[in-house]
Amino acid sequence: MLSLSLNFLPSASVSGDKFMLYFTTIFIIGTILFVGTLGVGIYFAFKYKRKSDNDETPYIPHNYLVEFLSVFGISVWVAIFFIWGWRDYKDFISPKMDEYEINVIGQQWNWQIQYANGKTFTNELIVPVDRHIHLAMTSKDVLHSFFIPEFRVKMDTIPGQYTSLRFTPNKVGTYTIYCAEYCGTSHSKMIGKVYVLSQKDFQDWLDGVYQGELAQETKPSNQDSGNGMTLVEAGEHLYRSKTCYTCHTTNGDTLIGPSFKGLFGSEVELIGGTKILADENYIRESLMDPMKKVVKGFSPTMPTYRGMLTDTEINQIVAFIKAKR
């Protein structure tokens, strides 16, 4: 049977609930305004329908009071909704304390979802309920957009940079991941699932003892070997094998380049005096384009790693540098 319900998409996150409240309000007020204006127009069309070719009409070029009141009314209406929307948005994008971080890489045409323990799943995101989740996302090829309709959130994934998606699931269940940015042939097939588990189940799942339905879907064949290393361990490995250690220490000492100790999340002063927050994108840029932002007090001798590190490896290095904060 075809469903013709108007609102069949459940809400399963804090931002989803906020969206529903917001939308319901703006919808009702918008409808009143619309029906009011149009109703008057249609009423006029009937009431003042032409009776004869010689109807007399009055000459009313304007009415300042009516004009002022309508401009004022509309402005207030718009301002209220703007502020409301801005506050919800601000809340949605701001980093929270104690976020659970997961890496996402979009590629034609699936999602690679990478956990701190080094496990990687395709098209399956498993998260604990009632925790702030932060997805650090990028793309391997073209633009995609990571969209979870039940959470009412999305964010584009962009090759060569990181974007963030934040949400707080508040209902245990299974939800959908769509790609919302057109990306070619199988754009509409780039579908995944989000499993929201209770916090205990999630811990069990991390420990590999979870027995629920999921175990099937995330069976080992679906997992990256990752050499059994966590992201941080893999990052440390790269730190050695790519010879970062020859210029960067992790204990605070300065060699040719600044130390990684305490780097992530700090304010870095660049040549020229501008200050910049050392976040995921900054680290990525330091690797790809080291000349672009040179740290004050250092010479621009860092080699570029463009084309020498995969997105997964960059994620691992970022995790490693984060762990040294």
Binding site: F34, S70, Y89, Q161, D289
Partner: protein, 532 residues
């Protein structure tokens, strides 16, 4: 020929096809634009029907994903670049702007003809890519890096659009100069008909914004052919930069489409109500105001592109601010009808239809401008429905209103009233069924540009497809009406609607240089009714 001045422009001067193809008469050029853009509407419409057919049921129906992707790309590109942007300024603007200001022609008739041929050239280049190449599958937005990587014929699409952009710039330039220099004696700025104000504002946008898309598309072409690396991150470029450039033009382009439409409505409603327009200056200034603000809101297409918080704040605020001038216009049109003598002939029906659909387009636009809500709505069918309400339900409906309103003047014959009204009802019902259903699908999370969709959306998609047939029938009736009445309609009087703007002072159809004697204006454009 002798007294050419007394003979209408169809019969005056040379005859035969060449006399049309190399004409410098703004009326003939306007009619050529009219025929060309109506054909574009049909082509774009066929693509739309095919897209809807594929989406009638979940799963693959008629086209594989690659074909489907080409269909929706062509639908968008043809409707935007071949139809809506050139239609109102090119066809109705060309025909009526000089008439309405009491001029003999536009300021640069040769440039005018050149614009038309640039449009044709652009279309021909597009067609070459569609028919001889693999077609384009990027969406009409050509987002990088997909448009750099895809194997489809992006270059022919983009180069074609580049030439059409030039056509648009030159038309705008021509109209600006025309309005400044060729107004007849007594026609001060505040006696200009609002359609002229609207075309004037549009022309400014065309001249200022279109070069940006031209340059952007050249950069894209260079990137594709020479691998220069403006937008491809692999080469050190920034893919999001393309979006900034693209929308820096394409948002003002929305106003290139909608401002002339508002101009038509501002003509039709006062005349058909025999009432002076309510708030003339408010409407004139809000056209200019909307035009200016439209340059500063492009980022609202990019709320989820990772642009900064501050950018999102400013773009959202300015976007929502545009609700104010738009709402002013809505109120003014409705207020104009108050105590009027309202004729519900076809042009007026379409104008009231415009108030209805444009109203929905506007209010859903505010919903989309809200940052938090756009995190959900962006790139879903909610957006698709919204811009169809503004483009089709705004620009196209107003065009239809204008076609019927000015038909007697252009062709010298009356259209068929019954068929006109019937076309309206088919169109308006079909339109609302099609796109209200898409609002529901979008609200519930159906992403756009999807070849296939989850079965939960099946009901609304089926309804939407059935609705699209209503639109098709409505448009078909308009075309039949226009073609039939051009030859067989009863002869039209010079002023069938008792209009007071200058085009109604000319013959139907007008003589070769519009007026036998240059008119002099002594009052405002909408002096209907009894002054107290």
């Amino acid at each position: 020929m002798g007294h050419a001045a007394n003979i209408n422009f169809y019969e005056a001067g040379n005859k035969g096809i060449m006399s049309w193809l190399i004409t410098l008469d703004h009326k003939r050029i306007g009619l050529m634009y009219f025929i060309t853009t109506m054909m574009s509407l049909c082509i774009g419409g066929i693509f739309a029907l095919l897209v809807r057919l594929e989406l009638m049921f979940p799963g693959q129906q008629f086209f594989d994903p690659n074909t489907y992707n080409r269909l929706f790309t062509l639908h968008g590109a043809v409707m935007v670049f071949w139809f809506i942007i050139p239609a109102i300024p090119g066809a109705l603007g060309n025909f009526f702007l000089p008439l309405m200001i009491g001029a003999k022609d536009v300021a640069f008739p040769r440039l005018n003809l050149l614009s038309y041929y640039l449009l044709l050239l652009g279309m021909a280049i597009n067609l070459y890519g569609i028919l001889h190449g693999p077609g384009a599958d990027t969406g009409w937005t050509f987002y990088t890096p997909y448009s750099i990587k895809t194997g489809a014929a992006v270059v022919s699409m983009v180069v074609g659009v580049f030439f059409m952009g030039f056509a648009s710039i030159l038309t705008g330039l021509n109209f600006i100069v025309t309005v400044h220099t060729l107004r007849c004696p007594g026609l001060t700025w505040f006696r200009l008909p609002l359609f002229v104000w609207a075309i004037y504002s549009t022309s400014i946008l065309q001249v200022l914004a279109t070069p940006v898309i031209g340059i952007t598309l050249i950069l894209l072409t260079l990137e594709r052919t020479l691998g220069i690396g403006f937008f491809d991150p692999k080469l050190g470029g920034d893919p999001v930069l393309f979006q900034h450039f693209f929308w820096f033009y394409s948002h003002p382009a929305v106003y290139i489409m909608i401002l002339p439409a508002m101009g038509i409505i501002s003509e039709v409603i006062p005349t058909m109500s025999q009432k002076t327009i309510f708030g003339y200056r408010a409407i004139a200034y809000s056209s200019l105001g909307l035009g200016l603000v439209s340059f500063l809101v492009w980022g609202h297409h990019m709320f989820t592109s990772g642009q900064s918080e501050l950018a999102n704040f400013v773009f959202s605020l300015l976007t929502m601010a545009t609700a104010v001038p738009s709402a002013i216009k809505m109120f003014n049109w409705v207020a104009t009808m108050y105590k009027g003598s309202i004729s519900l002939a076809t042009p007026m029906l379409y104008a009231i239809g415009f108030l209805f659909t444009f109203g929905i387009g506007g209010i859903t636009g505010i919903m989309l401008g809200v940052l938090s809500a756009d995190m959900h709505f962006h790139d879903t069918y909610f957006v698709v429905a919204h811009f169809h309400y503004v483009m089709m339900g705004g620009a196209a409906i107003a065009l239809f209103s204008g076609i019927f309103y000015w038909f007697p003047k252009m062709l010298g014959r009356m259209y068929n009233e019954f068929l006109g009204k019937l076309s309206f009802w088919f169109f308006i019902v079909g339109f609302n069924v099609t796109f209200l259903a898409q609002f529901v699908a979008g609200l519930n999370g159906m992403p756009r540009r999807y070849h296939d969709y989850d079965s939960v959306y099946a009901g609304w998609n089926l309804i939407s497809t059935v609705g699209s047939w209503g639109i098709a029938l409505g448009i078909l009736m308009i075309i039949i009406n226009v073609v039939y009445s051009s030859f067989k309609g009863p002869k039209a009087p010079a002023n069938p609607w008792k209009g007071k703007t200058l085009e109604w002072a000319a013959e139907s159809p007008p003589v070769l240089e519009n007026f036998e004697k240059t008119p002099t204006v002594t009052s405002g454009p909408y002096d209907y009714g009894l002054k107290a």
